[in-house]
């Protein structure tokens, strides 16, 4: 009976698969509502299978953990955000710095997933959720009518039963596929992130990046991936630096370039290498990212099941905005709230769970995705990836290279020359600018 109290150890009000940010936020919402909920995590601890850039934008936690910034396992608070477009020998940065971002309630934080995900999972268990680690949910259990009523696990094949399963099982979500909610995997909607975490003393990081104390820096890069659609990133942690690339999966495969070579390129770049000098590799990592956005999301609910976080392709990869953990938390929390409501009225069918989607549409999770649904295609387009970085660098080089005794060229002439060099017509430049304004404006 939906909403009933736990009759035995293997039956719950809800099962959450995956104790990443989406799963823990879902379990936390349910446990606080007094529901019996179990999180099934395949890794030995939450965060052990997770990799991100990365930065967590924490304001989504305001409603979940009051004054979260006083206890979250932060590495550094991002007070400098730099967007860099580059060629092999040039780089152009837009560098923004804000003191406000270094004080509560903050903006972005760098953190390590093994710490952050474990912290959020602890919030859920403290509220009464059960956490099963080192356990794989190997498949769905359905009743005669096809509705989801639980999961099978690899713990001696034991089954867990509940009126609702929340699939927060990540980018490869086997459960969403098994339920028929997600289409067949499509490489073109995915990118591969490859990351190196490099050890460097905290005071050296402070000096090189012009920060102090717990202040940190976020650098996003375009034009550093040998023309393979994607980009690069660099984030400062307390005494490590995360540096890596994110590249379109089909284009990477087609290029025959090995992913670690792209990271090596980036680390060698004249604008990046001086930051990393003398560092040593602490961990190499790779993970897929669902970057297709709004139009590639699965169906979010079925009878007895919901999908949240990366499993629902909720990472926002919209060029200047790269966010994921906040979307996972936002969607997971909304899923937990929707399940509690559905249990209260005794209807956990797809219809009973439909408030999940409307809640996401009313807040940033689907509102941002819907508004930016055309962004991934523009960001990964040929001109943005292969032509504009060089064009912009040449434009700035043209402006600031003093060519005495030749007189200065005018701005329009420099632009036209740079466009010609990179095979871009001014008409295309204008149309892409308009397209970007429509998407981001």
């Amino acid at each position: 009976m939906p909403g009933a109290t736990t009759p035995d150890a293997s039956s719950f009000d809800a099962i959450v698969v995956g104790a990443g940010p989406a799963g823990s936020a879902a379990a936390l919402a349910l446990a606080r509502a007094g529901r019996s909920v179990v999180m099934v995590e395949r890794g030995p601890f939450p965060g052990s299978k997770n990799v991100y850039g990365g930065v967590v934008y924490g304001r989504v936690l305001d409603a979940i953990v009051p004054r979260w910034w006083e206890e979250v396992p932060v590495e550094r608070w991002v007070v400098r955000r730099s967007t860099m477009v580059m060629t092999e020998a040039q780089s152009l940065s837009i560098d923004y710095r804000s003191e406000a971002w270094g004080a509560a309630p903050f903006n972005g934080m760098t953190t390590v997933r093994s710490h952050f995900d474990s912290w959020l999972a602890t919030k859920a268990t403290a509220a009464g959720a059960t956490l099963l680690t080192a356990t794989v949910a190997t498949g769905l259990v359905r009743d005669g009518g096809g509705r989801v009523v639980g999961v099978r696990t690899d713990r001696d094949g034991a089954e867990l039963r509940a009126p609702v399963v929340i699939a927060c099982d990540g980018v490869n979500s086997f459960l969403a596929k098994e339920a028929g909610l997600a289409p067949a995997p499509d490489a073109s909607h995915h990118t591969l992130g490859v990351k190196e975490v490099l050890a460097l003393p905290a005071d050296v990081i402070d000096e090189r990046f012009g920060v102090r104390g717990d202040q940190g820096v976020d650098i996003e890069m375009l034009g550093c991936t040998r023309g393979i659609p994607g980009g690069g990133f660099l984030y400062t942690n307390a005494d490590t630096i995360s540096v890596g690339v994110v590249v379109s999966l089909p284009h990477l495969a087609e290029s025959k370039v090995r992913p670690e070579e792209l990271v090596a390129d980036l680390k060698d770049h004249p604008a990046i290498a001086p930051y990393l000098r003398g560092s040593s590799l602490r961990e190499y990592a790779a993970h897929l990212i669902p970057e297709g956005g709004y139009d590639t999301m699965p169906t979010l609910v079925a009878d007895g099941m919901l999908v949240a976080g990366d499993a629902a392709a909720m990472t926002l990869a919209a060029g200047i905005w790269l966010e994921g953990v906040n979307f996972a938390i936002g969607s997971g929390h909304a899923a937990g709230v929707a399940v509690d409501r559905a249990l209260a009225v005794g209807d956990t069918s797809a219809r009973g769970l439909a408030s999940y989607r409307s809640a996401l549409e009313a807040q940033f999770v689907l509102a941002d995705h819907k508004r930016l649904r055309r962004a991934p295609a523009l960001v990964l387009s040929e001109r943005v990836q292969r032509r504009y970085p060089g064009l912009l660098c040449d434009l700035v080089e043209g402006m600031f290279t003093v060519t005495n005794p030749t007189p200065k060229r005018g701005g329009l002439r420099i632009t036209r020359d740079a466009a010609t060099t990179h095979g871009v017509k001014l008409r295309q430049l204008a149309s892409d600018t308009l397209r970007a304004m429509r998407i981001f404006g």
Partner: protein
Amino acid sequence: MSETDPSPTAAGADDGRRWRGPSFEDRMATVDFRVGDRAHITVDADVCRSCTTRACVTACPANLFAPTADGGILFNYEECFECGTCYMVCDHEGAITWTYPDGGCGVVFHHG
């Protein structure tokens, strides 16, 4: 631990560039793998023999796919990131069978 300090004289540069960072073995040695008994990914070498793209060989970030002399593919599951790149880039149905390792096994990221 490998120094990443660029050194033009260091060996290993195969393309005339500067030093390219740690060797792949040193790179993988930084990752914590708790290897399970069961291979969570299997490759059907018969299907692979008919493949001309071999996308898995270069795209796999852990470099686990190796072409064999007879045109097949050799695969080692032990140092797998469990990312999913191989099955997503593979365009031959049934060539790569992909599941998660048993609970608690496989890669453990400490700085993910």
